[in-house]
């Protein structure tokens, strides 16, 4: 029986479901200090106090939490459960994307890798945006691939000259899903540019390329437009998140080498000045060691807001200015360090469920969070404690970064050497996702290992493609080769 004739996707989803069900009731919902910045606006929205996420937070994840609370109940485990469902959608999107590019066997391999990926499972249990972002990225990649792959002769016009609405809808959908990713984490806004580039490079005739791009942008505008308008009216800035300044401070002070910022020059230049910009820089100077040793830049941001009596948007602007100044003084070092950080992110490191569990259990979240959130944080139960070894085993059973030395070369192979005519350069699209987002994370924030997690599906697709490329070139026995050929070759595109 050929692989294609087996109901592969349902079997894959059943397998992924089992893995998730095995931890759904055994592990607690993991929490980070930043979790409350998503939880509080969601709780406020549900309880009629309006919707006011922090300026650095994009709105989709708090809205997701609010929706889950409204539908399933005010229970953090309900959020984890819903994120596991999104995880299944991620598995499906990965499978379909890999099948479109490289064939069924690659799709199965990629789907399996995502189904049991320890970091993905762990972050589906985290009250952080990774699970939603991963799903949104995977779905946007899939929709973009399908929109581009539909290209066969006349995209928008049939033989009788009438318009084909499906082609336009595909690009609009791709744009909408990209916008959803951007509304989860603003860094995904850069993918719009990538998508436009892909359209212009892949769609041969410039008029059709332009109309495809226009529909993509329409999809983006419809989804992102309302939030951008709200940001413009409230903060004078239409960007979906005002957190760039804080990120750049993290990049230039927390993650960069200690001597990256010329502190001597800074203190000598700004010590005598009394303007807001100078005071912000002197505050940065006084808190430089605290920023390096703490988990986030929050302390500095709060100090800027309180001591300088500025709004969050103004504080972010001040931080952005200070960071850009430091970067501007050492551009080559900045570039060098960013490339190193990119490499670190690409290679990755193990995400241990043990440390996440310990943090969840040992920290007293009730003391740190607003009182209204206290009822939501239940202690880790006796049964969860009892089952902790099993949960940790499942959550840690497959760590892709352990095999980076194999997976990255395979991914490169998959992206550049696939060589099948029907797929062509489209295999570069997932590689574009990976390099762009990792690069931007490294340049604009730092090598926080969780930034790699949402890109695991794209890497899995590419690595599986690399396996497919190798198998295609091997001299296999006839029967095996014929069987693999039927599973390795991508699906034929639709006839015109």
């Amino acid at each position: 029986m050929r692989l294609r004739t087996i109901p592969v996707l349902p079997a894959l989803l059943a397998f992924a479901s089992l893995a998730r069900l095995a931890v759904a009731f055994r592990a607690p919902t993991f929490l980070e200090g930043d979790s409350q910045s998503y939880l509080l606006p969601a709780w406020d929205l549900l309880n009629g106090n309006g919707f006011n996420p922090e300026i650095r937070r994009a709105p989709l994840y708090p809205l997701f939490i609010s929706g889950v609370f409204g539908w399933l109940g005010q229970d953090l485990d309900a959020v984890s459960f819903a994120q596991h469902l999104l995880g299944l959608a991620t598995v499906a999107a990965t499978y379909l994307a890999a099948r479109r590019l490289f064939g069924t066997l690659a799709a199965v391999l990629a789907g399996l890798a995502v189904a049991i990926s320890g970091p993905l499972l762990i972050y589906e249990r985290y009250l952080m945006s990774e699970a939603v972002f991963t799903c949104a990225l995977s779905v946007s990649l899939l929709s973009l691939l399908y929109a581009l792959c539909r290209r066969e002769g006349d995209r928008f016009r049939a033989e009788d000259g009438s318009r084909s609405w499906l082609g336009a809808a595909a690009f609009a959908l791709a744009g909408a899903t990209l916008a959803l990713a951007a509304l989860t984490r603003p860094i995904a806004q850069a993918l719009v540019a990538l998508a436009l580039a892909a359209i212009l490079l892949h769609v041969p005739r410039w008029r059709r390329a332009l109309s495809s791009a226009a529909f993509l942008l329409l999809g983006v505008a419809v989804v992102m437009g309302p939030w951008s308008l709200r940001m413009l009216s409230e903060h004078g800035d239409p960007s979906t998140s005002g957190g760039l300044g804080r990120s750049l401070i993290a990049r230039s002070v927390k993650y960069a080498p200690e001597d990256f910022v010329d502190w001597k020059w800074l203190s000598e230049t700004y010590d005598d000045r009394d303007d807001v910009e100078a005071r912000a820089r002197m505050l940065l100077y006084s808190k430089r060691r605290t920023i390096r040793s703490s988990r986030s830049v929050r302390g500095y941001q709060d100090a800027v807001i309180q001591e300088l009596r500025v709004s969050p948007a103004q504080a972010d602007q001040l931080m952005r200015s200070a960071a850009l100044e430091a970067i501007g003084r050492k551009p080559l070092e900045y570039l060098r360090d960013s490339i190193v950080f990119s490499g670190q992110l690409l290679i990755g490191s193990e995400i241990s469920p043990r440390s996440e569990w310990k943090q969840r259990q040992d920290k007293s979240w009730e003391e740190q969070w607003p009182d209204q959130l206290d009822p939501l944080v239940e202690p880790v139960s006796f049964a969860q404690q009892h089952d902790r070894p099993i949960a940790e085993t499942i959550l840690g059973m497959f760590q892709p970064t352990t095999f980076s030395f194999v997976l990255l070369p395979l991914a490169t192979l998959g992206a550049f050497l696939v060589g099948t005519p029907s797929v062509g350069r489209l295999a570069l699209l997932p590689m574009g996702y990976v390099l762009l987002l990792i690069g931007l994370s490294a340049f604009l924030d730092g090598p926080a290992i969780r930034y790699r997690v949402p890109l695991e599906p794209a890497l899995a697709v590419l690595a599986a493609g690399g396996v497919a490329a190798i198998l295609r070139r091997l001299r296999l026995p006839k029967g095996v080769g014929r069987h693999l050929a039927s599973t390795v070759e991508p699906l034929p595109r639709r006839a015109s």
């Binding site: 069900l21 109940g73 005010q74 229970d75 006349d154 009438s162 318009r163 049964a383 089952d387």
Partner: protein, 522 residues
């Protein structure tokens, strides 16, 4: 034409995959309803919940598997599987039961689809998806969560086994054979169902009835029944042997004695167990001490389980001895007052048919009651908890979800409509006649429950899907019969000379709207 070709494909796909869409819609609807309760409500507990949970917990923790004489093994094994797969969390068990509940909605659709038609399956499936009583039943740590989907699967398999293909329907005589493999499978499933709740054992009579309803001859009926029976016995026999070896009694229905005691001493207080003024029931009559205990317990309004425990402790009986004594005591009073018993059974059966409104408020505190009564042994007590503040705050939402629809809201019209539907199914014939199978199953289950156990409200839950099917079928089949008769009447009338082609067409055929509606109802 690429554009119209693609558009036509988009339009045709739903028509070609109507069943898939129907099942998908019902599953999503059922899951959406169950999502309202699974995280919001504490797990509900009945007094019997511990008797199912503890053997499962002991099995998982390596302390053996002993369900005792009263219980059957399927539900404890299900709990053990959940504990093993998903961890020590009662919520995982009820969440799995809710998933099975969603499957029940899909199975209801399929039963309706195979017998009467898609519309019946869709509407009945939607009623099952929305049924608040089933939502509550699935949230209990009790056998309903597994029994209901098992029964639905069994009935569907039996219906498929005896259904004739379209080619077979068109030929005269008994061509073809019922599907033997499906009959054996149905027998196995029925055995599994009976090992979940012994009240399903009388349903074994459905096999020959199904074959007869399916239009098969006597020979096929006998052979098919044997195949079904083989599957049934294949599962029940080992358990009977196990009971014989462990408890000295091969019965697979050890619970019946206590149930009958509840029927005659708790749900119906008109039976006399002990009366000093009557020699056959006085001090000198057999088992006087036991009868006196039961009469006093009846006066104290103790439930069946409490009466049985009192008997066991005061007379120092083993489980099989207690079961035997319960049965004998109950049968004794029934045989002395047979008319009263039959009258009471009929009334209780009708009471069960009408169902009872399930109030979440009563169920809500059941787990907390188990905590406060210290009923659970220490090794499993850590799994119990009172409802959290967040759950108590959202109780209204759970109540609203369970109050969207319950069969009791439409009593007595729902059971009356279901009777009508079954009658029409018999009259219409063809595949619709197989709807009588779930109808008969409903009747047998409720009658058996009323006769042996009493009008326990949750005994109605397993029959909700089939009452919905039969009731909806009443509307559809009535329409079909009327349409059929109109068509027959118009065909027998002499035709006038047509003045135009339109006049000839409009006089002899039903209107397009009617025929279209008829097609959709068919």
């Amino acid at each position: 034409m690429r554009s119209s070709g693609m558009s036509a494909g988009v339009v045709m796909w739903p028509r070609q995959h109507a069943d898939l869409l129907g099942i998908g819609f019902l599953t999503l609807l059922a899951l959406g309803m169950r999502a309202q309760i699974v995280f919001r409500a504490p797990v509900f507990m009945a007094p019997d919940s511990l008797g199912y949970f503890l053997p499962a917990y002991d099995l998982v923790t390596g302390q053996g598997f002993d369900v005792g004489f009263r219980r059957t093994p399927v539900y404890p094994l299900f709990i053990a599987a959940c504990l093993k797969l998903f961890g020590e969390d009662l919520s995982a068990i009820v969440a799995t039961q809710h998933l099975l509940g969603a499957a029940t909605a899909a199975l209801t659709y399929l039963i309706g689809r195979v017998t009467v038609g898609r519309l019946v399956g869709l509407v009945a499936g939607a009623l099952v998806a929305l049924d608040g009583a089933l939502l509550v039943g699935e949230h209990y740590l009790m056998t309903e969560g597994v029994f209901i989907p098992l029964l639905a699967l069994t009935l569907l398999t039996l219906i498929l086994a005896v259904s004739r293909s379209r080619a077979e329907q068109g030929t005269a005589g008994n061509t073809g054979r019922p599907r033997a493999s499906l009959l054996v499978g149905a027998g196995l499933l029925m055995g599994l169902t009976a090992l979940c709740r012994p009240v399903a054992q009388p349903l074994i009579v459905l096999a020959p009835l199904a074959l007869l309803l399916g239009g098969w001859g006597w020979r096929s009926t006998i052979v098919g029944s044997v195949a079904f029976g083989a599957g049934f016995v294949a599962l029940l026999a080992p358990w009977a042997v196990y009971n014989a070896a462990s408890h000295g009694d091969a019965s697979t229905t050890g619970v019946i004695g206590q149930a009958m005691l509840a029927r005659t001493a708790y749900y119906d207080r008109g039976f006399v167990f002990y009366d000093e003024r009557q020699p056959e029931r006085g001090q000198d009559a057999p088992r006087a001490a036991a009868r006196r205990i039961v009469e006093n317990a009846k006066r104290d309004r103790l439930q069946g389980g409490a009466i049985a425990r009192r008997l066991q402790s005061e007379l120092d009986l083993s489980d099989p001895e207690l079961a035997r004594l319960n049965r004998e005591l109950a049968l004794d009073v029934i045989l002395r007052q047979p008319a009263y018993y039959l009258q009471g059974t009929a009334a209780m059966t009708w009471q069960l048919f009408q169902a009872e409104y399930d109030r979440v408020g009563y169920d809500w505190k059941t787990q907390g009651r188990r905590v406060s009564r210290d009923e659970w042994p220490d090794r499993a007590a850590h799994l119990l908890a009172n409802p959290t503040d967040a759950q108590n705050e959202e109780r209204g939402r759970v109540e609203a979800a369970t109050n969207i629809w319950q069969p009791a809201f439409w009593a007595p019209w729902l059971p009356l409509a279901s009777f009508l539907g079954l009658t029409l199914a018999f009259v219409v014939g063809g595949p619709a006649r197989l709807l009588l199978l779930p109808g008969l199953a409903t009747f047998i289950l409720l009658l058996t429950s009323a006769a042996i156990n009493g009008p326990l409200p949750r005994d109605h839950y397993p029959t909700d899907p089939y009452m919905a099917l039969a009731a909806v079928s009443a509307v559809v089949l009535a329409y079909r019969l009327i349409a059929r008769r109109r068509q027959a009447a118009s065909e027998t009338q002499p035709r006038a000379a047509p003045e135009s082609a339109d006049a000839a067409t409009s006089g002899s055929q039903p209107s397009s709207a009617t025929s279209h509606l008829g097609q959709s109802l068919g």
